[in-house]
């Protein structure tokens, strides 16, 4: 779905979202009031400029509209792969965006994500994955790496990875796999504006992804392991 078509469905009451260089920023009307909207389009690879522009927007929202919910629309093929970005410290720029979003959350801004295109690795980590709730359209493409590339790098047979993918959601790309692992909260198939209003109406409840991964039997260990660690007082080591 194009971002324009998506926003038409998400915000029937209208929006003022600008698209500049595949970066989205602006606001939209919802039944729960005005929200801030930010994100990426056309599978944009997140480089230093992208991260800085999005962080700039988050800082502006926090300054000018305290408490306004922020919806992140995600379509990124990942981080930009270039020597120049590395030279400038791209990880620091992405971390800056992440910290700005956390600061917004700490100051009471609700953070929601909707993956409507691709959501890959570092690009996804730097904003979409920071939300209180991460939702996705059914045809969203969420991944770290496709199976042929994974087979090449891990030197494992592709047929073996394909076979295992039917048994475990941890290997193959796909929004259903991320749903099962708890990385995606729910899939929005239709009634997008209603889904958004419902999500805006819920309270943030901390990072629920490990519990969801366990309930959906996609990540059976993460919740238990982290709980075991937090249960260890200084004397129990």
């Amino acid at each position: 779905m194009t971002v324009e078509a998506l926003m038409k469905q998400l915000f029937p009451a209208g929006h003022a979202v600008q698209i500049q260089g595949d970066i989205l920023t602006g606001s939209a009307m919802t039944p729960k009031g005005t929200i801030a909207v930010m994100g990426t389009a056309n599978h944009l690879a997140v480089g230093v400029e992208t991260a800085l522009a999005l962080a700039d927007f988050v800082l502006k929202v926090v300054r000018e509209w305290p408490g306004r919910p922020i919806l992140m629309l995600v379509d990124t093929q990942g981080q930009r792969l270039s020597k120049r970005d590395e030279l400038l410290g791209i990880n620091g720029y992405l971390a800056h965006l992440v910290k700005c979003l956390e600061m917004a959350r700490l100051r009471g801004h609700r953070l929601l994500s909707l993956v409507y295109g691709e959501a890959v690795s570092g690009g996804f980590l730097s904003f979409g994955l920071m939300a209180d709730e991460i939702h996705a359209l059914p045809d969203a493409k969420v991944r770290v790496m496709n199976l042929p590339a994974m087979a090449r790098i891990t030197k494992l047979p592709l047929a073996m990875l394909e076979e295992l993918s039917s048994a475990s959601p941890s290997f193959a790309p796909g929004v259903e796999n991320f749903l099962q692992l708890g990385g995606v909260c729910s899939i929005w198939s239709d009634m997008l504006s209603e889904q958004l209003a419902n999500a805006l109406g819920r309270q943030a409840a901390g990072d629920q992804r490990r519990q969801q991964g366990l309930q959906r039997l996609g990540r059976k260990l993460a919740h238990q392991v982290s709980q075991s660690v937090t249960a260890c007082g200084p004397g129990d080591g």
Binding site: K83, N91, L94, S126, M130, A167, V225, S226, Q227
Partner: protein, 304 residues
């Protein structure tokens, strides 16, 4: 075997493994491991793929003391799958950061050595890194300083490069490398003309400890000696906590914007060093740490 700066001398951080680093960084005998190897919490995904597991899934976490002060510590084992983060590995680190909020140690020390997401369990690894980031920032928001140490063979890349820059403060040696996409990943994807990963001098001046210090991406550059990392960690503990306030992030925003304006068109680290006003930038990679710090002391160190 003692000196004024710490108890140990002459243990290379670069060459030590995850457990050796903890042993020599903390007060002798103070380390208490959580979910140690006898618990056998190995990766179920590697097992499925027929690959050897590690009893600690490549990360050691626990309690300890540094100069008498209670800390929580995590140490990634680069030798096992390049320190990459899988489901169990990530959950141990997330749990440790959540424990910090309950226990309020003097600091959390993260000995980072990782290529990022473990591709053999890629989806679980990516989510795990996002959970680490949230838990780390929650610990910081609760007022617990999180200090990152980087200096192993595998560097600190991928999602863990983002995790590193979410810390309050970073300590690195010259051998340490910090970035997002590793040079070999860029070369494989974009071609050797974009980044020649075999050109070691190019790699180190682009992502190595010296450049990271000059850029303000890390706060302390130390000798490759665990005792030097220990001293730097103790110094860092004396610093005021970096908060996550709007003002602090606006200041960071300005610094990062200025960096992009000033150096955004530079093709090589030496051009940046030259613009910083440093004499003889081509010589900087050759200097030992003390001479390097002396030659560059006029550069304001961000957040140091």
């Amino acid at each position: 075997m003692s000196d004024l700066s710490g108890r140990h001398r002459g243990h290379s951080y670069y060459e030590a493994n995850a457990r050796g680093r903890i042993t020599h960084l903390l007060d002798a005998g103070s380390f208490r491991e959580i979910l140690g190897p006898t618990e056998r919490l190995t990766s179920p995904h590697l097992e499925l793929l027929g690959l050897p597991c590690a009893f600690d899934d490549g990360i050691v976490v626990g309690h300890g003391r540094i100069d008498g002060r209670q800390v929580l510590i995590a140490s990634q084992e680069g030798g096992f799958m390049g320190g990459a983060v899988g489901e169990v590995h990530g959950a141990k680190l997330t749990g440790l950061l959540e424990l910090a909020v309950q226990e309020r140690p003097a600091a959390v020390l993260l000995l980072l050595e990782s290529g990022g997401v473990r591709l053999h369990e890629a989806n679980a690894g990516l989510i795990a890194i996002s959970e680490i980031i949230r838990a780390l920032l929650a610990a910081r928001a609760a007022g617990i300083p999180v200090i990152g140490l980087i200096g192993g063979v595998y560097g600190c890349f991928g999602g863990m490069g983002i995790v590193a820059r979410c810390c309050d403060s970073l300590i690195i040696n010259e051998e340490g490398r910090l970035g997002l996409s590793g040079p070999d990943v860029i070369e494989t994807t974009m071609g050797v003309e974009e980044f020649d990963a075999a050109d070691r001098a190019l790699v180190w001046r682009t992502v190595g400890g010296k450049h990271r210090l000059l850029l303000g991406e890390v706060q302390r550059l130390v000798e490759d000696d665990i005792a030097a990392f220990r001293s730097a960690a103790l110094e860092t503990l004396e610093q005021p906590i970096q908060d996550l306030s709007l003002e602090a992030l606006e200041a960071e925003h300005q610094a990062l914007s200025a960096r992009l304006t000033d150096y955004g068109s530079c093709q090589d680290a030496t051009e940046i060093w030259s613009q910083l006003g440093l004499h003889d930038p081509l010589q900087l990679p050759l200097l030992d740490i003390q001479s390097f710090l002396k030659a560059t002391c006029k550069i304001g160190r961000e957040g140091a």
